[in-house]
């Protein structure tokens, strides 16, 4: 339960952090809130020789509105998102997801950027990122680039962030209140066995559904989205469409839940999130 020894760096700018990453390559790990990295270092599942702490780089911890988008800095904690009045008004799915992550101490340290970069298949944020069609902003020594939600999650613990890149922020659309997140949590940790996020677009009532926890890679429930296309969100329409929420998906099978049970929970949580979002239309 004691991490192996490592060298610790605390850069004060992104350029400095990127230079350290380039210099130390595979030996180095970035440190955000440490609530995924430190537990695995304590178990010695991870033994980085160099730890680069992003905690003192100014500007990475912020929530602001900029030309019609909501921009959340990578180092913003789950708790700051949960308590943000700007988000409660402009992008209420984010506080709704945040409040369901782990416990208050975990939310006081863990960051949205760390969670997304880690890409734990049981993490909550990926469902919201997909349903909101968010964009990830990453920094590298050449500048910045943006990655669309659908391209971001590559596989188990793997994202489109390159080894020399740092996630700096996430761009979200402003939404109405017609959003919802429903999750079945693993009792001890709170991680999602299955979680479904729903966004109903204000203008054309188009529905977007993101599902996490169920498979190695979080996904959009496109068959359910199609089933609801152009239809009013009645109970019948919702029930009929929710049954295809795991179509074409190969669910995970582990000590927490069998693949069949995960498939079942994908449908149940999609149904619940759709009902909740419809009640807020």
């Amino acid at each position: 339960m004691i991490p192996a020894t490592f060298d610790y760096f605390r850069p004060e700018t992104l350029d400095e952090a990127a230079a350290l990453l380039a210099q130390h390559g595979e030996d180095a790990k970035l440190l955000a809130g440490g609530h995924s990295l430190l537990p695995s270092m304590k178990l010695r599942l991870a033994q980085p020789r160099v730890v680069i702490d992003l905690g003192r780089i100014p500007g990475l911890n912020s929530i602001r509105e900029s030309s019609g988008k909501i921009v959340v800095g990578a180092m913003t904690t789950h708790r700051e998102i949960e308590l943000s009045s700007l988000l409660a008004e402009k992008c209420p799915l984010l506080p709704e997801v945040a409040t369901q992550i782990g416990d208050v101490q975990v939310r006081n340290r863990g960051t949205i950027g760390g969670s997304l970069a880690h890409a734990d298949p049981a993490a909550d944020w990926p469902a919201a990122i997909l349903a909101l069609e968010a964009e990830m902003v990453v920094f590298n020594r050449g500048g910045e680039r943006r990655i669309a939600a659908e391209e971001f999650f590559v596989d188990l613990f793997q994202t489109a962030i390159q080894p020399d890149e740092i996630l700096v922020g996430i761009r979200f659309p402003v939404t109405s209140r017609a959003v919802a997140y429903s999750k079945s949590a693993q009792k001890a940790s709170g991680f999602a066995i299955a979680g479904a996020a729903v966004v109903v677009h204000a203008r054309n009532r188009a529905v977007r559904i993101g599902i996490t926890g169920v498979s190695a890679r979080p996904y959009r429930a496109s068959a359910t989205e199609k089933g609801l296309k152009g239809k009013p969100l009645t109970q019948e329409a919702i029930s009929a469409a929710a049954v295809s929420a795991a179509d074409g998906i190969d669910p995970l099978n582990d000590i927490h839940a069998s693949n069949e049970y995960r498939r079942h929970l994908a449908l149940v949580n999609t149904l619940r999130a759709l009902e909740l979002a419809a009640s807020r239309c």
Partner: protein, 140 residues
């Protein structure tokens, strides 16, 4: 070095307990810049320059903090192992939500495990401390 070991072994402040070492039990909870954190999952160096409050620091000039007083009055502890973490998490909870419902208190304590009390008395204590603090505020 982890913050909990720095507090216990270097500062010899042993009121912060080590329970699970796996970020689940909350026995090691301290306040970092006023926010409840599990000190078994923070590097001491990450806390460099931050204000840390442990259970040793919550009484004021020998007067118990309202939460300590209420834990005593409401029988909110038996063995006491979880109590420092419960009290510090309670302080963070009441700072953000001075009049929580019982349900909100239970949600706020999800990261703190107690093997003895069955939690009801802990929720009673936090409710009663909330009243004490709001009375103190009115008087002031």
């Amino acid at each position: 070095m982890l913050l909990v070991h720095f507090l216990r072994d270097t500062c010899v402040l042993t009121g912060t307990h080590v329970g699970c070492e796996t970020t689940l039990c909350g026995a090691c909870t301290v306040l970092m810049e006023g926010k409840a954190v599990k000190s078994c999952t923070v590097l001491a160096v990450q806390a460099d320059g931050s204000e840390i409050t442990t259970i040793e620091g919550v009484a004021h000039n020998g007067d118990l903090h309202p939460l300590q007083q209420s834990f005593w009055e409401c029988h909110a502890l038996q063995c006491g192992y979880c109590t420092p973490g419960m009290i510090l998490t309670g302080i963070d909870l009441l700072r953000n939500n001075p009049k929580p419902t019982r349900e909100e208190i239970a949600h706020g304590l999800e990261g703190n495990l107690c093997r003895c009390t069955g939690y009801s008395h802990i929720i009673d204590a936090i409710e009663s401390a909330a009243q004490k603090i709001s009375k103190e505020r009115q008087r002031a």
